[in-house]
Amino acid sequence: MTLPKDNVLNRFRFGPGLLMVLALWGFLSHTQAVRAADAPLSFTNDVEPVLTKAGCSIGACHAKAGSGQNGFQLSLLGLEPRDDYEHMVKADRGRRLSIANPDQSLILKKASGQLPHGGGVRLKRDSAGYAVIRKWIEQGMPFGAANEPTLVSFEVQPGRNTVPPMGQQQLKALAHYSDGTVRDVTSTALFESNDKAMADVDTEGLVKVSDIAGKAAVMVRYQGRVAVFSAAIPLGAVVDSVPPSKNFVDDFVFANLKELGIPPSPLCDDATFLRRVSLDIGGRLPTEEETKAFLASNDPNKRDQAIEELLRSPDYADFFAAKWTALLKNRRDDASDLVSNFAFHAWVRDSLLSNKPYDQFVREILAATGTVIGNPPVAWYKRVKEPKNQIEDVAQLFLGVRMQCAQCHHHPFERWSQDDYYSLAAFFTQVGRKPSPVRGEDLIFHKRGVATATNIKTGAALRPAALGDVIPEIAPDQDPRLKLVDWMSSPKNPFFAKALVNRYWKHFFQRGLIEPEDDIRDSNPATNPELLAALEKHFLESGFDLKEMVRVITRSNAYQLSAIPTPSNVKDRQNYSRYYTRRLQAEVLLDAIDRVTGSSTDFTNLPAGTRAVALPDNSYNRSSPFLRVFGRPEGESVCECERVQSSSLGQSLHLINAADIKAKLADANGRAERLAKEERPAEDKVRDLYLATFSRQPSSDELKTAVEYLAQVPTGADGMPVDSQRASRENFQDLLWAMINSKEFLFNH
């Protein structure tokens, strides 16, 4: 039996019990259809999947690195059947299996709980899995015939479908073998949701979706193969209208919203837009003058012009350099790192300022040679020294591929093998180093020779090969790193441009089209693949123009939607039906507080007035509790997740009463002091405060409340009213303090 193509089982129409019966019946009847009951069993095709499904071969159990669990070792997720067969059948003099009495086999008695087992009961005695292993033992524990069919492909049915909120979808996993047979392996496949809040899946492949609209994916794994089911969960609301399309971004975002029935919020107002885009592009609040001019302008293109102005400004370069230098591990481990860290940060910043094409930017880093002073990207090789670290960072940062797993075994979620890993590492094996006069630094050059890296498992010397692609032979004189970058920047490269546009999309929308942004794989599909493809195409056609990528994103109406949810889209977290608010990142927040309080933060070695977003490395975190508590990264990882964006009690306490905040509020040359001394109406001063802090004018209620507060005369420690100058100063400090503690200030919205 095959399941109906449109296998949507709504729980309001079918009870779960009935569903299970149907599913089990479908599985059994299919299996019976393709395999004779007494056919010889194969360790690879029959036994290994049972062990994997039962969880025996996960990293925490018998696939633990080293020696497995209690002496019994299996490969991770059963990816190495030959090794597992040896361990199971022959290791320890074959004590785990009893051909004379299969039920007395140690492996079955432990797995079924008849003997104490740390992992608990994994296979009940009446389970199909137990029966398979028992029968295999009975058959003499064959590894399998030499000509037994091999797994050639794997699929899940359906591959995608629309599932109504609170609905269900039964998945079917099908394994295709070299002899043309197809087996339903739903019962032995592994199912995993990429967003359990939206769609959960049980061990038998039954997907249950929640009432959160959007796109969810279920990864289905079988014997090293991966297939994905993508569920579209429509909200089903009527989308009467969407904002007009300004570019292809809007086309795809709004088409998706229409498909899912999620009405977008309206466009944000001008004040919100200017604050948002200034924070997102320049890492700073707009100045009062900019805000006034922008709000007063009637130019229909003023939003586009503001974007252009920000892209031209050094603020853009400073802000994005802060993003990149942390990812490129510009880390101060020793006082002598000062020069190289300043040089590398400055190089990144200057590259962004001059809008160096992204492929060239990456080329200059990966294929860097010479000295740090002469060629600052050489500093990357100071931090990332070994070929395996180099390819892991390159893969994750520039290709969005996490290769770390494949160093020791086949990647569990991906198609990458150890050969892929070491072939990639081979690109970096001819990086030569010469001593330099500078402590901790080497001169980097291409060391002539044929690049090879050794697969630690097979011992094979592997030539450079790119992920899923063939690289022509590289002559000993040619720097393999240049060939790697040639491959990366090829228009046909499936990772390079995609990884960047996804990373930048996340920068502006708080959530990547693929999430996490550096985990791009078949089993982690984009929530809007058409949009991702269009962004990638646009980026390639622009010649890897980073500013153009920022421009096309921020010009879109999708970016300019209000952050205020409507009742219909309040639960949406991934379809960009509104702007998702985000706390200002540590440096931006510190700069913003300095700006509105009229103070400044002093950073060692740097000119007075240097903004926190322009700091060259992590060393300043040590001297700034503020930057630490608000999660400024230390440059330890290529993952943007190192930057802590969540809120915490420590942050709240810091903003409320930390000494540095108090000092900024009470700065003798600060805004509160200045406002207190100025002879002009309190209303004007409050308006200025709102412009500086929230980039908008106060409402009449806000104005009234603030003015009334400013008119109060507090009492001193002696219970007597304080003098008017002090009262005014303290009132302004209090007002500022309240404003910087508001969510409107702390968040980009």
Binding site: R312, S313, P314, A317, A335, S336, L338, V339, F342, A343, A346, W347, R349, D350, L353, S354, R363, E364, A367, A368, T369, G370, T371, I373, G374, N375, P376, P377, G432, P435, S436, P437, V438, R439, G440, L443, F445, H446, R448, D477, D479, R481, L482, N605, L606, P607, A608
Partner: protein
């Protein structure tokens, strides 16, 4: 400079012996006796045909009274105040109109001798001085087109300059810093009128800018890590160039590696130029050998491929200069034999030529120096290609540092020649190698104390198979100074030059001729020996990278006042004769002029052939010792030899003791003046007591005058007292460790008598 050593003996004890008889030093001990160093001149240069007033600063410049240059056309006189007295540290430099633009060494003569030098630039542009406080846009200094500004970087700040320009104008902004001995890694920014950065340049110090629109522009200048102060000086020029003009940059000093370039007799210009495209086997440039080609690593990952025919048995020497021309490159050459054609073409490696190795092990950047802090090697190439078969050969040259860089300024010169055996020599003052993490790299002028012997390391890069011995000579020495070269032996790369001043040598100075001499193929050959020095005294090379360079001259001077703490010399200056199988004992005399830590010190032998001789233990409390050489053990062939001993000792050095005596005299004079005035005042009081009323007015006037004189005399006495205290404090004995080198011992080894 005094370097305070604060590192423990435990660590020191764990480390191995250094080349100079490693010395364990105690806490709070300084390294290196005081040496005069000219550190800054402000301005740092001037325009040919003008007179420039400059102010100097430096270390141990006591008694400085004369500023001299490496070119006699440049002259200086002391600046005088209105009363005609010299103003301390200020000079008027006259730059004649015929003085060619370029870099010159400036040094100042002090009580310790001629100072280490500082670069003085001569240019053609009108020069101005930096406006004070130009560290903000509001206080930016206007800079006229075609002007040069002498400036000092401001710590934790940028210096701001403004200029006006027209659309399409080509503006060339050039900042000289590292190339003129400054510590500054210059960052140049051209910004718009609002100060927003438009173009930033952080490595080359130059921006060739095409002005996009009429208006005001801003130049910002700062140090890469925002350091500033007197040592971070720069010369910023703003020039307008025509569109097709070749931009000529400020001249720069030469790296130490450049001493081995060019080969003597090489024409100024190469005979051939590379012709692009010549980047692969389908685009090779045919050449015939020998040849002399200039080219450039102009494009990223540029490969220049040349092809030539050669015959079996030929040996070709290939030399490439690029890094030695001042470029940040690392040339590399592959020579392959080509057989077959088209698809059947086969390449067989014949030679791979890379760096010119340093002749001696260079110090690592580890815990302490384990070699000299000078690298005489180069990433350039000198190597040979031996042709084993008649045929076609392909030579490709690449820049190992040029994979991602496109810069037509990265030129090279490649010479392929039949062997022309030759050599180049360079020397530098030796450094202490202490076993306590000492990493100071300092400029050491050849400014000798009376009785001192100073040793220079002399190293050679040999060309085209030359393997013979190289004698080292120094001529034109000042009075009372002798120099003895410990030759670079056949096949070796290192020798020494010992320069000794008599104890009674007068204060004197001369620019000397320093050479290496050898006989090559029967012909005597003399080559200039370059002197290298560090631009700055660096206390710790972990925190600051030393910047050694070649000097334009070799100034040798004698203090005439200060004496070496110790002199060790053979008791008799005659050549001692000894047969090859004998032992010989050489009596030595120590002249001690200071107290020392410890009772003795060990010195190791230097001089070729004596490396394995036993160390010499020298008493630091008595005036005699003996050196013993066992010629049988040394197995030296008959001939004349020079040998010396070298090590270190910790002297209790008194700095500028004569200043104490002078201050004492001054104080006595001031005291006498006070006493005289007191007596006069007393006398006047007596006169006043008996003066007539008519004379009272006159008496009162005299009393007032005396009182004022007494007040001034008291102040003068207080000042003299303070000066004496300071001089006394400075002259307190201080533990300073320094290199001790004996005067050379001359030996004539005669053949052993046959039995």
């Amino acid at each position: 400079m005094r370097v305070t050593v604060m590192r423990g003996l435990l660590i020191a004890a764990a480390l191995g012996a250094g080349l100079l008889g490693s010395q364990r030093v105690s806490l709070a001990q300084s390294v290196g006796l005081p040496a005069p160093r000219l550190l800054t001149t402000m301005p740092m240069g001037g325009t040919a045909g003008t007179q420039v007033e400059i102010t100097i600063t430096g270390e141990h410049l006591d008694g400085a009274n004369e500023l001299t240059f490496s070119d006699a056309r440049l002259t200086a006189t002391r600046k005088l105040d209105p009363a005609g007295a010299p103003v301390p540290n200020q000079y008027l430099v006259t730059i004649p109109a015929d003085c060619p633009p370029g870099l010159y060494e400036a040094h100042v003569r002090t009580r310790l001798g001629m100072s280490a030098s500082r670069i003085f630039s001569v240019g053609t542009l009108p020069e101005v001085m930096q406006k004070a406080g130009n560290t903000s846009l509001a206080n930016a200094m206007p800079l006229a087109m075609n002007t040069l500004c002498n400036s000092v970087a401001t710590a934790r700040s940028s210096d701001f300059y403004t200029f006006e320009a027209r659309q399409g104008q080509r503006v060339f902004v050039d900042c000289a810093s590292r190339g003129i001995d400054s510590k500054m890694e210059a960052v140049l920014v051209i910004a718009d009128a609002a100060g927003r950065d438009l173009v930033v340049e952080r490595s080359s110090g130059v921006i060739d800018y095409r002005v996009p629109a009429d208006g005001n522009y801003v130049i910002k200048v700062h140090e890469l890590t925002y350091q500033g102060g007197a040592a971070f000086y720069y010369r910023l020029s703003l020039r307008e160039l025509t569109a097709d003009a070749v931009a000529v940059r400020h001249p720069s000093t030469r790296r130490v590696s450049a001493f081995s370039w060019p080969p003597v007799g090489l024409p100024e210009q190469a005979a051939l130029g590379e012709v692009e495209p010549n980047n692969d086997k389908d685009h090779v440039q045919k050449i015939t050998l020998p040849c002399d080609i200039s080219g450039a690593f102009a494009q990223a990952a540029d490969v220049d491929v040349f092809e030539f025919d050669a015959k079996m048995g030929e040996i070709w020497w290939v030399e490439v200069a690029s890094e030695r021309l001042g470029r940040p490159t690392d040339p590399s050459i592959i020579v392959q034999q080509v057989t077959g054609t088209g698809a059947d073409e086969k390449l067989t490696d014949v030679a791979e030529l890379t760096d010119i190795p340093s002749p001696v092990k260079v110090s690592s950047n580890g815990y302490a120096y384990d070699g000299p802090p000078y690298d005489a090697g180069s990433p350039d190439v000198i190597g040979k290609v031996e042709i084993k078969q008649d045929g076609r050969y392909r030579l490709q040259i690449t820049d190992l540092f040029g994979g991602t860089r496109s810069d037509p300024r990265n030129v090279y010169r490649m010479v392929i020649r039949k062997a022309v055996p030759d050599f180049a020599v360079v020397a530098w003052a030796q450094h202490m190698e202490l076993r306590n993490g000492d990493r100071n790299a300092v400029s050491k002028p050849i400014a000798l104390r009376g009785g001192a012997t100073m040793a220079l390391d002399v190293v050679t890069v040999r060309r085209d198979g030359f393997d013979g011995p190289i004698e080292i000579t120094m001529e034109g020495l000042p009075e009372g100074v002798t120099a003895h070269g410990l030759k670079i032996d056949a096949g070796k790369t290192r020798g020494q030059m010992l320069i000794s001043a008599r104890q009674d040598a007068p204060g004197s100075f001369a620019n000397v001729t320093f050479t290496g001499r050898a006989v090559i193929d029967g012909t005597p050959v003399t080559r200039q020996c370059w002197l290298a020095s560090h631009a700055w005294p660096i206390p710790d090379s972990w925190g600051e990278i030393p910047a050694p360079r070649l000097l334009a001259d070799v100034p040798v001077s004698v203090s005439g006042v200060d004496l070496a703490p110790i002199t060790i010399a053979p008791a008799s200056p005659e050549i001692r004769e000894v047969t090859a199988a004998e032992k010989i004992t050489i009596p030595l005399v120590q002249t001690l002029r200071s107290e020392f830590q410890g009772a003795s010190t060990d010195l190791r032998p230097i001089g070729c052939g004596f490396e394995s001789a036993p160390k010499l233990t020298v008493s630091l409390t008595s005036d005699k010792s003996e050196a013993v050489f066992d010629l049988a053990a040394l197995k030296l062939p008959p001939g004349d030899y020079l040998v010396a001993f070298q090590g270190s000792a910790v002297a209790k050095y008194r700095h500028h003791p004569e200043a104490v005596a002078a201050a004492e005299v001054a104080k006595r004079q001031a005291e006498q003046m006070v006493m005289a005035l007191d007596a006069e005042s007393k006398k006047l009081a007596e006169v006043a007591a008996t003066a007539t009323p008519e004379a009272q007015a006159e008496t009162e006037k005299s009393k007032t005058e005396i009182a004022e004189k007494q007040k001034a005399a008291a102040a003068a006495l207080a000042a003299a007292d303070e000066k004496l205290k300071q001089a006394t404090a400075i002259a307190q004995p201080q533990d300073i460790v320094d290199i001790v080198t004996t005067e050379p011992i001359a030996l004539r080894v005669k053949p052993a008598e046959s039995k």
